[in-house]
Structures are given as structure tokens and as C-alpha cells.
């Protein structure tokens, strides 16, 4: 991502009207996912494709439990695809409580299309929910959501449209406005640099889903203050957990047991 940013900036004088959206939608692509079957047996792994409202084909993977289990959608973060996030799927699969579904937003991994704010935030999450409802024959309120970083933004914007059993959201930024303010020390318009609003603080106020907001206090990528900002803006029921010694995306490695306990109990309490 850093090289992309630097190259883009070096090309400034040659280019017209860039935006910094690519910082939020850094889309690693692949021709084939490398999916390990060391933890989730191969016969319980199921690749699928489904379509967003505009016809864009998205890729997803199921990690089924050996016995029928309720579905859980994992909204992964930026700069990675299904293969890159499979270790998190394995981590949650080992809770043995849910069938885990992970999917790639448009232009991520093998998913088609071009990543835009409108496409990723307003269509892809909804498409995943509709796929899971169809596959699991489940109502929205029977589907658990877990989201990481950018995935939290997708989940929040999807939750504007459709509810869920509960959302466990980790390390999500409050807004592009906040990032610009902290980064420049200036109060500049978000629209100068971003095409999309990327305002999770505004969007989270509209959700109807119970939410557990997690933000590690040692996150040096997204300001941990984002957690309280989102928490304050979210309607009840809500919880906030800010563990010490946890960075942007290492909670499941640093505090796996506590993460499992808190997430599982939160989801269970909203069944």
C-alpha cells in the first residue's frame, strides 16, 4: 500500500483528480485462493459465488461445522482477500458455534468489478447477507456478523439497510474526516481527497443491530479513539472493549481466549 501511495503521489503532476479512496480500498487480487485445510477439514470448506445488485460477481467461502450451525458472516479488512484472512476464519471456526462465511468485496481477491465506496459499502455487504439468508434459510436476525477494520465500515453501512443478530466490530475507523484532521492537524473538507464520505460515525447512528465495538489501545494504524467515538454514536444495545497490548489486527493472536469469550458471549446474549 505504501508503494502504491508513493507512486500515486509522484504521478500527481501527470494526473487529474486523484482521490485517496485507494487508501481505504486497497484491493489485492489473486487468480486462485490458497485455502488451508489443516484446521477446517476440506470437506467442510465450500467456495461459492454470488452477485451484487448491479450484477458484479463476488467470491465467498464457507467453513461449515460438522453439525448444522447458525451462520456467521466475517467482513474482512482492507489490503487482504479471503486467502489472506483464512487464519481468522479458522480461529472463529474453532469456536465450534457457527458456520463461518467470508467473502471478498468487489475487486478484492477473485471478485469482479471495481472497488468504489458505493459498490463496496452499499452493495457487497448486502449481497453477502442475502446469499447467507438464502443458503442458511435464515432471517437477518439469525445471522451473526464479525468485522475487522474496513469490514466494520462495510458492516455498518450494510446494517443501515438490514439488521443482524449482533455485530462484533474490531479496529474500525470513525471517519475519513477524523483521519484527515489527525493527519494534517487541519480541518479540511473530506471531499478534497476522498470521493466517498467514509463516515462510519454518522452511519453507525442509524443501525439497529446490537454492537460490540473493540479497539486495541496499542493500535498504531487507526487511532484507538475511534472506538469510543463510534461507541458514543451507536444506539443501544452496545458495548465497548479496549484491550491493552492489542494492535490493529492482532487481537485474535494476542488475546485469543478473551476475544472468543467476549465475542461468543455477546453474540449469545443477543440470540
Amino acid at each position: 500500500m505504501r508503494k502504491i501511495a508513493a507512486v500515486a503521489l509522484l504521478a500527481l503532476s501527470q494526473t487529474a483528480c486523484l482521490s485517496l479512496d485507494f487508501l481505504f480500498l486497497d484491493t489485492p487480487q489473486t487468480d486462485a485462493y490458497e485455502i488451508s485445510s489443516e484446521i477446517v477439514p476440506e470437506d467442510l470448506i465450500e467456495p461459492v459465488t454470488f452477485e451484487a445488485k448491479d450484477g458484479t460477481v463476488l467470491y465467498g467461502y464457507w467453513a461449515h461445522q460438522p453439525v448444522p450451525s447458525p451462520p456467521l458472516i466475517f467482513f474482512h479488512g482492507n489490503g487482504g482477500h479471503i486467502g489472506d484472512n483464512w487464519d481468522r476464519v479458522e480461529f472463529m471456526w474453532e469456536w465450534h458455534t457457527h458456520d463461518i462465511f467470508i467473502f471478498d468485496y468487489r475487486e478484492f481477491g477473485m471478485s469482479e468489478g471495481t472497488a468504489t465506496f458505493q459498490g463496496v459499502m452499499e452493495q457487497d455487504g448486502m449481497a453477502a447477507v442475502e446469499h447467507v439468508m438464502s443458503w442458511a434459510i435464515a432471517e437477518p436476525e439469525e445471522i451473526a456478523w464479525v468485522a475487522l477494520s474496513l469490514g466494520g465500515a462495510v458492516a455498518i453501512h450494510t446494517s443501515d439497510e438490514i439488521g443482524a443478530q449482533a455485530l462484533v466490530m474490531e479496529s474500525t475507523f470513525a471517519s475519513a474526516d477524523q483521519l484527515l484532521d489527525e493527519g494534517t492537524g487541519l480541518d479540511v473538507p473530506t471531499g478534497w481527497f476522498f470521493k466517498g464520505p467514509y463516515d462510519n460515525e454518522d452511519a453507525i447512528a442509524k443501525i439497529t443491530t446490537p454492537i460490540l465495538i473493540i479497539h486495541g489501545l496499542d493500535d498504531d494504524f487507526i487511532n484507538p479513539e475511534s472506538g469510543p467515538l463510534l461507541f458514543d454514536a451507536a444506539p443501544k444495545p452496545k458495548e465497548l472493549w479496549q484491550p491493552k497490548g492489542v494492535g490493529h489486527s492482532d487481537l485474535f493472536e494476542v488475546k485469543p481466549d478473551e476475544f472468543e469469550d467476549r465475542a461468543s458471549s455477546f453474540l449469545a446474549s443477543h440470540e
Binding site: L10, C17, L186, F193, P197
Partner: protein, 228 residues
Amino acid sequence: MFRLALILLPLLGACSVSRAVAPLPKGSGQIITSVGGPITKNLSPAIPLPMTSVGYMHGLNGKTNVYGEFYPTGLAAFGVGGVGGGVATEVFGPDGAKPRLMVEGGLYAYAGNNDEGPPPFAARVFPHAQTTFSWDLKRQVLYAGLDQLIQPFPSFRWHFTPLIGGVARVGRVGFQLEYKWMAWYLDNLPIAAEWAGPFHHGASSVQIGISVALGPHLPSAKGRGEEK
């Protein structure tokens, strides 16, 4: 996340070399350009980003310069147009080891919008002030100063940047080299770009300026001008 938008700082307040170095001869003018910015370590070798400015500076009375300039980079990159202008005046001249003191006041104004939705237009103004001490060495000038950038609205902000530089003149052409330590009080852990900054703070910025003197007088080290 201080780091994400350090890349934006050069698009705003620190996009040209200093204009408050020495007074121009009365009635003379200079076309002024500069290129450069914070040094990124993302590329090998580490190089300054090519932020550009183009403008004109005019000597009013042998002590005071006025200038106006335009910043193409923000417009080309983000559709955010930027212009700047200001006045720089000599408070006292050099005398032996005693340096010249110049003070400058000016304004940057930026407007534009990248968002596909409303509002279609957004503008900000940034007053700035610079204090510069300079020493004359024949036809060269060395200087050190402090630039202060203010955002008066929608919320008040105040930033300051120490800088050093030099100007060498060859005939009508002046070559200027300047180093700034931008945002030195901010941690510069890498996010979008990795900046070179002392003690992992802020961003070291290197800029090169080229000026071309117009009119009958050439700038001299003592600032009074000399007949061509």
C-alpha cells in the same frame, strides 16, 4: 493515524520555498517557481515529492516584496486549486555578522471537491506568517526562519515549521535550496507513505526554487539592486 495525511501537508501550507529572504530592487520583478516537498522513503532512493509552485514577486520600494503564486500539484492531483499571496518586508538590514530580518504575511486559499455527492464546492483559507534571518555572502544568501500556518475556520489550528536555506544568483537566475522540518511534533510512523524525519517525527522537506529576474535591476545581496 497522524501519518495518513502528512502527505497532505505539502499540498497546503508548505508548497513553495520561502519568499521572505531578501528585498527586491524597487520596481523589479521575478518569476518564481519551486519544486520539491517531503522526502518519502517508499521509493529507492528516497526522494522529495515533486510539489510545484509558480508565481511572480515584485519589489515595491527596495525593502518590501509582494508576491502571488499558484500551486498546480493540488489541482492536478485532487482538483483542489490553490493560490497564495503575501507581503514580505525588511525590518532591518544586514550589518556584518548581524543578519537581515524579514517578516512576511500571506494567505493560502484552496478550493475544490472530490466528492461525487453534495456539496459541490469547499474552500479553506490559511493565513501564514514567516520570520526569516538572512546573511549575505557576496551574491549568495543564507537564511533560517520559522513559518507559521493558521487555520481560522471552521476550527482554529496553528502550526509552525522551522526552515533553513540558501539562494545563489547567476546573472538573472537565482537558485534556491530549502530544508523544512514539517510537522516535527507529530509521530511519523508509516501509514500511507513513509517519511524521512529526524527522530521519526514529521517530515524532512527539500525544495528547489528557481527565480528569473525581470526589469533593469538585478537582485543584489544587499537588497538594493544593481544596474544591469
